[in-house]
Amino acid sequence: MFRSLRKPETQSVSININGQMVQVAEGSSLWAAMALHGETQTRLALVSGQQRSAYCAMGVCFECLVEVNGVPNQQACLTTVEEGMHVCSQDLTEQSIAALHQKESADHE
């Protein structure tokens, strides 16, 4: 597990990570908030569907893509937590995206 050495007087905010409400330090990065609660899975690998997790923590690998308030492909390491934020590990893969497109075009017909 990751652990926090943050000084005690920090204010906290509540956010929802994968369906669970948790308290996290105000100003945390979303990735740190997730990792400190054991939620280290971010996205799935696009082709194989294998689980992935953050790699660089500074915005250059795009492994930390998650869904924030319903919007996919947000970089957790560059996002700052906000009160009431909803975050989910995302399960988009090439296959699921293709299925989604197929469904959309079928719905249009």
């Binding site: 660089c56 500074m58 390491c77």
Partner: protein, 471 residues
């Protein structure tokens, strides 16, 4: 307030902040855009609002940055944080995302300082959960006070030892340091010892870090080679060779590092001229001593202009600001020369020192240009070395052809994690210099945009005001 500035600076690290301070002192209107929540860049990340009780454990090179950040905060500069720049137009318009909206500024002169990123470390299993970079350990520590006990730190370079020492000072346990600096490093570096001796303090600091790690009783495996991460769906350990023997050390977390390279995507997308810097084994924008690029109104400074470190970045920032003032007609040629001379001299001695570091900590070919056919080169599209080789044999001889054929470099990271590997692989396979191979052709936007933002981008006409754009 107008959205047109004399000088717009991208990136608020030591390079960008120094450029902004110089430009403001010289009387220019200055805007600085930075994607992080607070200024400071990588080295001075959150230095004025550290989450740690005692940030001095991170070292004086860190805490000394507070002065620069404070001066930057007090100066007459238009500062924009959380501002992620993703397009720069030819006439000086800069588009960036802030609060999920596209905003726009126009620059007469642009100074680009987006810093460095860690060199990719393409070994078997580097994509597994539990494998991160040593820089990420530092980012998490500086920004969030977050640490991981019992990890392995593997690779080479001063930043690797720095984070291990920082961990140990904070009582965080470290399982092992697996050092890939090759045995010949000292010999290779000796020819540049003159440069190193011009900066003895830095040299001593590096040695002291290693000594500190050693004294703490952390096992250090020197001259390790052939690294691979063990594990199927997540990391469970690291395997490597040392003195002809195979070792493996268990750990659910591994931090890799083999130096840093310029953050290329912005300068590449702009079409600035680049060259392959053999000494640093990376693509680098081609610039003059003031950071002036091949595009008349654009300068590039700091580690994005070639790795020189934070101190040099400060001088480079000031030089680019002085030159921009001169181009704007606000500083005479004579004043430019006179005010530049100390900075130029300082840059020269940092360059000499860097030659020593580059030779000493040169990342080994096996960890840059892997041979194993099942190692991933492109993490996003999951393309292995073997698949790239097959693409090459089907006729894809340059990075763009290989990208079209295999999709490597097409994923969300836009080639940041595979670009250098691909250039070097293609060079080796054709027995040509890397400079003949080139790099991916890149375009804006330089990040993933929401559909909303993308449609705004497509509607943007250069003459529009920010208010209309964000409407």
């Amino acid at each position: 307030m107008s959205d047109i500035f004399d000088i717009v600076i991208i990136g608020a690290g030591p390079a960008g902040m120094s450029a902004a301070l110089e430009a403001a002192q010289q009387g220019a209107s200055v805007a600085v855009l930075d994607r992080k929540a607070t200024p400071g860049g990588q080295i001075y990340r959150d230095v004025t609002q550290s989450p740690l009780l005692d940030p001095s454990v991170l070292g004086s090179e860190y805490t000394e940055g507070a002065e620069l950040v404070e001066a930057f905060m007090e100066a007459d500069i238009d500062r924009h944080q959380n501002a992620d720049v993703w397009h720069i137009g030819e006439t000086g318009e800069v588009l960036y995302s802030q609060d999920n909206q596209t905003r726009r500024l126009v620059a007469r002169e642009l100074i680009i300082s987006p810093g460095a990123m860690e060199r990719p470390f393409p070994i078997e299993g580097w994509h597994l959960p539990g494998v991160m970079t040593a820089g990420s350990a530092q980012v998490m520590l500086k920004s969030d006070g977050m640490v991981k006990d019992g990890a392995i730190f593997a690779g080479t370079g001063p930043l690797l030892y720095l984070i291990v020492a920082q961990y140990l000072r904070l009582g965080v346990t470290v399982n092992a340091v697996v050092d890939t600096t090759p045995a010949g490093g000292v010999v290779r570096a000796m020819q540049y010892i003159g440069g190193a001796l011009r900066k003895p303090a830095y040299l001593i600091k590096g040695l002291m870090l290693l000594n500190e790690i050693h004294r703490a009783g952390v096992p250090i495996f020197r001259h390790a080679s052939n690294l691979s991460v063990l594990g199927e769906s997540k990391s469970v350990g690291l395997q490597f060779e040392q003195d002809g023997r195979t070792h493996s050390v268990n750990a659910d977390h591994i931090f890799l590092h083999q130096g840093v390279i310029p953050n290329l995507n912005m300068t590449r997308a702009l079409g600035i001229e680049h060259h392959w810097a053999e000494q640093q084994l990376c693509w680098t924008p081609t610039l003059d001593d003031w950071g002036q690029s091949s595009i008349p109104h654009i300068a590039v400074v700091g580690d994005a202009a070639g790795i020189q470190g934070a101190e040099a970045a400060r001088h480079a920032g000031r030089l680019a600001a002085l030159k921009a003032m001169n181009k704007l007609g606000k500083l005479s040629e004579a004043s430019l020369q006179q005010q530049s001379s100390d900075h130029l001299r300082a840059m020269k001695s940092f360059k000499a020192f860097r030659s020593f570091l580059d030779a000493y900590y040169a990342p080994t070919p096996e960890h840059r240009i892997p041979a194993a056919s099942n190692t991933l080169a492109c993490r996003c599209e999951e393309q292995t070395m073997g698949q790239l080789r097959a693409g090459f044999e089907q006729g894809a001889k340059d990075p763009n052809a290989l990208k079209a054929l295999t999709r490597c470099g097409m994923g969300p990271c836009q080639g940041r994690q595979c670009g250098h590997t691909v250039s070097e692989l293609l060079a080796v396979w054709q027995n040509k210099p890397v400079s003949d191979i080139g790099y991916y052709r890149l375009r804006s936007p330089q990040r993933l945009l929401s559909v909303d933002e993308l449609s705004q981008f497509q509607n943007i006409k250069p003459a529009k005001k920010p208010a209309e754009v964000s409407a």
